[in-house]
Each structure stands twice: as C-alpha cells, then as structure tokens.
C-alpha cells in the first residue's frame, strides 16, 4: 500500500481568493489557482498584470492581505520559521536576472544551498554541484564569476542552483526575458527535460506566448490583477474571451476615456 497523499489530489500549490495591495492599489484581486504534482503551470500576462507579484506571494516573500496560499498542503501564513525552512528546501527558484551572488564563483553559487542546509563534505558538494552544472550544460564554467557569463548562461547557472537541493517545486521568473530566440528555445527545452527527468512541478511566469504554449500543461492568464482563465494550451488558444484573444493576437486594446474623469485627473490637486 502506498502512503496516502498528504495533500488533496497531490496539489502542490493551492491559492484561494488571494487579494493583495501595493499601498492603496489593489494588485491581485481574488486570485485562485492550483498546481498539481508534476505539471508545468504557466502564469501568463502582460506587464502590470500582477504576475510577478503573484510569484512573490507564492514564494512567501510577502504576506497576503487576504486569502490563503497552501504549499504542499500547508497554509504558509501559519508556518513557523522552522517549518518554512523545511518547505523552502523543497523549492527551487530561478529569478529573472539569475540573482546569482556576485561575490562568488558559479560553482560556489550552486553549492550555497548545500552548504547552508546540509552537512556534506566539501568534495561531495563539489561533485553534486558539478552534476547540476552538467544538467544545464555549464560543465567547466564553475570557476567563472557571474559577471563573466552571458545572459543565457546566467539563467542556466541560476537553474543549476535552484536544482541542487533536488526540489519538488520549481519556479521560473521570465525564463526567456532578454534572451535571443534560439537561447530562449534552448531554455524551454531544458525546462521540459528537467520535468521529465526529475518529477518536479514547475511554475513559470512569462509574457512570451511562444514559450508558454511550448512548455505549459496548463496556462493561467492574468490581466489587471484578475484571472481571466485557466486551461490547457488548446483551451487558451481557442478561448472566446475577448481579452485573452487580444493578448494572443497582440491587439492593442483602446481604453474608453470618460471625459469627466479625464478632466478631474488633469486638474487634480489644483484650486
């Protein structure tokens, strides 16, 4: 008999009715989504849609104003710092610019989580970090400093660091931003390969349509802080929701201007 799943239907992430503010401005409005074990969920949206904010909340970098976020079945608002640490060891994050520590070599960067969380000896850590660098095709680059790497290499090095603890949940912030199409496609393939090899759930935040359609199992489309739809690639492609179609066809949507409102904005704060 297999052990019963600790969380319902193997949902690694469950977000329900998340509402967040930046100052007085509502950034996320009643966002609910879930990510199941082993799936690649792409969170897609234009700039200012709130997708990066959503990621920061999923990572536990901020506290939600209202709503519940569960990681591995645990409500992250109620976690003590030790339990948080246990969960964080199961998470890997590849930030937009890589966020490698500039004062360390690539190899030291990749070994950093091991050094902080395990008591392995130096040579084991070295072997493990080299293994992960092999996975992302950066073998032999471990002695370089992050400033000596190209954009694509930085992201792959960051991925190696995210993978070094063998996480079961992986986050990507804009994996293809700032990369040329060939390198971006290469990174997409790498993401797919890692999912197949490591049985890991992956959350990707991106605005690149092509990349999203290529890697996603399901896509969540976010717009102005609200979820427009969540569905498979085909469902999103064939959606009849107007704003989703505009996003896909890159149509500029003209905002209706209210004349009174416009005048009020222009004269605001004057006597």
């Amino acid at each position: 008999m297999t052990a019963p799943a600790q969380y319902p239907q193997d949902k690694v992430i469950e977000v329900s009715n998340l509402v967040t503010y930046y100052g007085r401005q509502k950034v996320l409005d009643d966002v609910s989504l879930d990510v199941t074990d082993g799936e690649i969920m792409v969170i897609m949206g234009g700039s200012g849609s709130g997708k990066s904010t959503l990621l920061r909340y999923l990572l536990g970098l901020h506290r939600a104003d209202s709503g519940v976020i569960r990681l591995f079945g645990r409500d992250i608002n109620t976690l003590g710092s030790r339990e948080w640490m246990q969960i964080r060891r199961k998470m890997g994050v590849s930030f937009q610019g890589g966020a490698l520590f500039n004062s360390m070599t690539v190899g030291e960067n990749v070994r950093m989580p091991l050094r902080e969380h395990t008591r392995l000896d130096e040579s084991t850590m070295r072997i493990m970090s080299r293994m992960k660098l092999e996975v992302v095709n950066l073998a032999g680059f471990e002695h370089l400093m992050p400033s000596q790497l190209s954009g694509g290499m930085l992201k792959r090095a960051a991925l190696a660091r995210a993978l070094v603890m063998d996480p079961s949940l992986l986050f990507f912030d804009e994996p293809s931003a700032g990369l040329d199409p060939v390198v971006a496609a290469d990174l997409d393939n790498l993401i797919l390969r890692i999912r197949d090899a490591m049985r890991v759930s992956i959350v990707v935040v991106t605005h690149e349509l092509e990349s999203a359609f290529k890697i996603a199992d399901r896509i969540t489309v976010l717009d102005q802080g609200k979820i427009l739809m969540t569905g498979t690639v085909d469902e999103v492609r064939n959606s009849d929701i107007n704003r989703v179609r505009n996003l896909l066809s890159r149509t500029y949507e003209e905002q209706l201007v209210d004349a009174d409102d416009y005048l009020r904005r222009l004269t605001d704060g004057m006597d």
Binding site: S81, L100, F101
Partner: protein
C-alpha cells in the same frame, strides 16, 4: 471691488495652507525618523538573535564571513587611520602649545593630549574612518544585492538575510572598533609626541612617561566603551540603508550617501550624549 475686500482673507488662507504643508512635511520627516529608528532596533535584535541562537536554529553565523568582514572593515582601514590619527595628534599638540604659550604653560599640553585623545578623539577618528570607508561600501553591497533580487534569492533558499549579511558585520565591528580605537589612540599620542619633542625640547621617553602618569584606566574605558556603541551604530545605519535602497543606480547612490552622512551624524551625536552622561 469685492475682490479687493476679500484680499486679506485670501492672503491669510494662503499662509494657512503654507503653514499646514510645512507642518505636514515636518511630521512626515519625523515619522520617517521614528520608522528608521524602529527598523534599526529590529535589525539589532534580529542579528543578535542569530549570533546567539543561530547555531541552535541550524543557521549559524559563519566564522569565515566574520573574519573576512574583519579584514575588510578593520585591517584594511589601518593605514589611513594611522595617518589621520597621527596628523590629528600632531595638530592638537601644535594648537595646544600655541594657546598655552600665552600662559607660559605649554608643557601642560601633554595632559590635554593624553586625556582628549583617549576619551574623545582617538575613538572619533577611528569611527569616522570606518564609517567613511565601510558605511558606504556596506550600503552599496547590500543595496546592489537588494536590486539584483539576491536578497530574495537568499530568503527563498531559507537563508535569513540578516543572519547572512548583518550578523557577521556586527560581530566584526564590535571586535574591530575597540582594536582600531587603541591603534588610533597610540598613533595620535605619537603624533602629539613628535610635535612636543620638537617644540618643548623634551625626549620621547620623558613624553611617554608623562603620558602614562597622567592617564587613568577610566580615560581609556571611556573611549573604548564609546567605540562599541559606534560599531553597532555603523552596522545598523549602513545595513539598514542598504536594505532600503530602491530605484536603480541613482537610488543606490542616494542610499550610500545617506548611509555615510547618517553614520557620521549618528556617531557625533551619540558621542555628545555619551560624553554628557559620562562626565557630568
């Protein structure tokens, strides 16, 4: 005609608006100040927590990073500190001799040097040198990390940024500030000695005997205890400004400048308060 009769009222209203905006601004600045103070206190509490209990929490403060901070903040400051302290001691001797000569009491300058250097100027120079060198460097380093999402990366890795970045600096400064103060005292007294030897026609041996006979342990303690406080202040102001840095390269520049200015202001004001309570 009506507008003319209303004129004084309009002026009064404008003055009221101006006054209100002034008081609002003062109030806002005050709130920011209180906020900074609170942040500093929290930062101190958290870094002390990691220093004392980190090992038990599986997040030890690494000796390696403490040593590297000590090198960077302390040992590397030795050359410039030595020169400044020596020059300051020499200047003090020159001014003292010039002033005291009017009363024919120029040999009393040695008393002045011994007490004012150990109580006040040795530690002040050491603190200002460290604040100038490291106050900006620390703020710039942490600010850059903040903007490159490296701080976020630490947090999602399960590494407390304060434990990793602030605690080692706090330990390093609490150890290095008294050490540098002792060095600074020695160099300033030596500087005063060189001038005294030339102007008062005494030997360096006589000078140092006089210094030792004048000095009491209380004088030294006064400087050393201040150096601990300054070390903590520099740590909190510099790291706090780094963590709060926003707004790209320009914001980083602002944060580093603010860090140095606030460090030095905090040192001088704290020094005054300290001296008030220690002497009066």
């Amino acid at each position: 005609m009506r507008r003319l009769t209303n004129w004084p009222k309009v002026v009064a209203e404008m003055q009221a608006v101006r006054f209100r905006s002034l008081t609002e601004r003062v109030g806002r600045e005050f709130v920011v100040g209180v906020e900074d103070f609170g942040h500093g206190a929290l930062l101190l509490a958290e870094s002390l927590f990691w220093i004392l209990l980190g090992r038990w929490w599986q997040q030890p403060v690494r000796l390696r990073s403490i040593v590297s901070e000590m090198m960077e903040i302390g040992v590397m400051a030795i050359p410039v500190l030595s020169i400044l302290a020596f020059a300051n001691g020499a200047m003090m001797a020159m001014q003292g001799i010039y002033t005291l000569r009017e009363f024919g009491a120029e040999s009393q300058v040695i008393t002045g040097i011994a007490t004012s250097v150990t109580r006040e100027f040795g530690v002040l120079i050491a603190a200002i040198v460290v604040a100038g060198r490291s106050g900006s460097a620390i703020a710039a380093r942490i600010g850059t990390m903040q903007m490159a999402q490296e701080i976020d990366a630490l947090r999602v890795m399960g590494v407390a940024p304060v434990r990793y970045l602030v605690s080692p600096i706090l330990v390093a400064l609490v150890v290095m500030m008294p050490t540098l103060t002792i060095l600074s005292n020695l160099m300033a007294i030596l500087g005063g000695g060189v001038v005294s030897v030339m102007e008062l026609h005494i030997s360096l041996g006589t000078y140092s005997e006089r210094i030792l006979s004048i000095l009491e342990t209380g004088d030294l303690w006064q400087g050393l205890s201040k150096s601990l406080v300054f070390g903590v202040l520099i740590t909190l102001v510099a790291t706090g400004n780094g963590f709060n840095a926003t707004g790209g390269a320009e914001g980083l520049g602002r944060a580093t400048t603010r860090s140095v200015v606030l460090c030095i202001s905090a040192i001088v004001v704290a020094d005054m308060i300290f001296t008030f309570f220690l002497i009066l």
